[in-house]
Symmetry: C2
Subunit: 313 residues, 2 copies
């Protein structure tokens, strides 16, 4: 055993090795798994926490919301929102679904590019970006801090219905003031992107194995996806629910971001009824990283059973 | 926007970027978080899956075990066992708790050193190794494939009660044949380690913030730990339960590895009663990575609510 075995170590914390300083850094938040032949990487854009507004849930008493947060061991005085784009390597093409908030004033979000880099991928190697809907936390990451393109070689595929809604001047004119900013933001992000933007329709394959389907309510053109390869299947729900501790546990609750709340509730209930019956693996943009789980019925409501982390792929 | 904006991208998958090959590699499984001032790193040693023996759970029908596995979305024809040592950076000292199975014939386990390296730590910088009990998946990682020490500068702290039990020749002589191998293994692993091994007692601080407490049943000297720093608290349960989908959901079930099954059940029920009442964060060596969660009462049984992944520390 050589010299190592001869080393007498005092019990009083006097090891021969130099002290290692604490890292102080969060673990890079990327997670690879496979759906059939497709390598999937879940990527965190970070977590936002902000004071819990009385209307964060439009139609539930704040005390009930806080009880649900406590049940999930989350802070009860804050809204906690997780952001998780994801990436597919399918038929040799790198496909990114949604982009996070991009570089911003807070380091709590805008972490997509760092986590993608940690996973060994640079923005310039992304071939296709698919957008689920036009809220800022899904599209603003298309641009870097200087306004240049974060994915300069990528085609950008957007839902045709979403484009039609947000680029319509009448819709913008009649929107409430709080929503007018979202119209302006979408127009700014997509400005001068020219024919790198293409519009996609529902229920037609968008990338090998990936088929979009309409889940309106959160926004008019809000889109989810079925990913299938061999026997593997994953449903990418996008924003059918925000934080599952609130809106999957209580699908009738309306998050302030749902643009048509009644339609969003109907979409949510129909989707979760099906997902729980089918026992399909679900990815949720606003689930906690690594944002994969199974929806389980719990009386009239649901719960999320997080998927087991795979240590080999 | 320069040349990038001028690049016309055909919708027919003809991006300018070279195809990126799939990584084919699992994400390094380490996860950092903080308990008060102490930086804690959960580290996976991998996951084993093997045919589900009729007596994997000694006192439950196989069909019931398979139903519990199905509820957890795990394969029902296999036992799935997760292995997760962990590391503390406390007062400038690197403390490793348990070591995994070490290099072995299967790449499914023995991943500790690779994951530790990914977290920026080499074996030689570990100052202290604390062992919870003497089963091979906790001690065999003390040695590399050539038999040399994996943590050559570390003091190795073992429970005095565990040492007394396993090093007693009478206990070995009267042990069932299946258990005799465990005695031989422990003796081989600890052979010629001399005074780098020290024996610890319960309820006395073992490292800054870390206090062991006795949780016998799984083995005679099986040890758990309370980690406390400032307002932060973590209970490291070690092997009070194996796979929580089976033995936390059904605490009366006896895994074949519990050496005194009745005592293990009593220890388990008492511990989970307390953990669910206190809502304390729990780390479990055999929980799925990152092996942190909260124990919740569910009628006469319990369930594990996995902790939320923190994207900042």
């Amino acid at each position: 055993m050589g010299a190592g075995a001869a080393l007498a170590v005092s019990p009083a914390w006097t090891s021969a090795s130099a002290a290692v300083t604490a890292s102080g850094k969060a673990t890079p938040a990327f997670y690879r798994h496979k759906i059939g032949d497709i390598e999937v990487t879940q990527l965190s854009d970070g977590t936002a926490q902000f004071p819990l507004a009385d209307n964060f849930v439009r139609n539930a008493p704040k005390a009930d919301v806080q009880a649900a947060l406590a049940e999930a061991h989350l802070p009860i005085d804050k809204a906690t929102v997780f952001f998780n784009p994801m990436m597919l390597n399918t038929s040799g093409k790198l496909v990114l679904i949604d982009t996070g908030s991009g570089p911003g004033p807070s380091s709590a979000v805008g972490q997509l590019m760092a986590n993608m880099n940690a996973a060994g991928v640079e923005g310039k190697t992304v071939d296709v970006v698919i957008i689920s809907h036009f809220h800022p936390d899904h599209i603003n990451g298309l641009r870097l801090a200087d306004g240049s393109l974060a994915f300069p070689n990528a085609e950008i595929k957007v839902p045709a219905a979403e484009w039609t809604f947000w680029m319509n001047d009448e819709n913008m004119a009649k929107a409430p003031d709080a929503v007018k900013g979202l119209f302006a933001n979408a127009r700014k992000v997509f400005d001068k992107m020219g024919d790198r933007i293409t519009h996609y329709e529902m229920d037609k394959e968008l990338a090998p194995g990936l088929t979009p389907f309409a889940t309106p309510g959160h926004t008019p053109g809000h889109t989810s996806y079925a990913l299938q390869s061999g026997a593997g299947k994953l449903i990418i729900q996008s924003d059918i629910t925000n934080n599952p501790a609130l809106f999957l546990r209580n699908p009738d609750w309306q998050v302030m971001y749902d643009m048509n709340p009644q339609q969003a509730v109907a979409t949510r209930r129909a989707f979760f009824d099906r997902a729980s019956a089918d026992k399909t693996l679900i990815a949720g943009f606003h689930f906690p990283f690594p944002c994969l789980g199974y929806v389980e019925k719990d009386g009239a409501n649901f719960r999320l059973s997080p998927a087991t982390w795979q240590t080999t792929i």
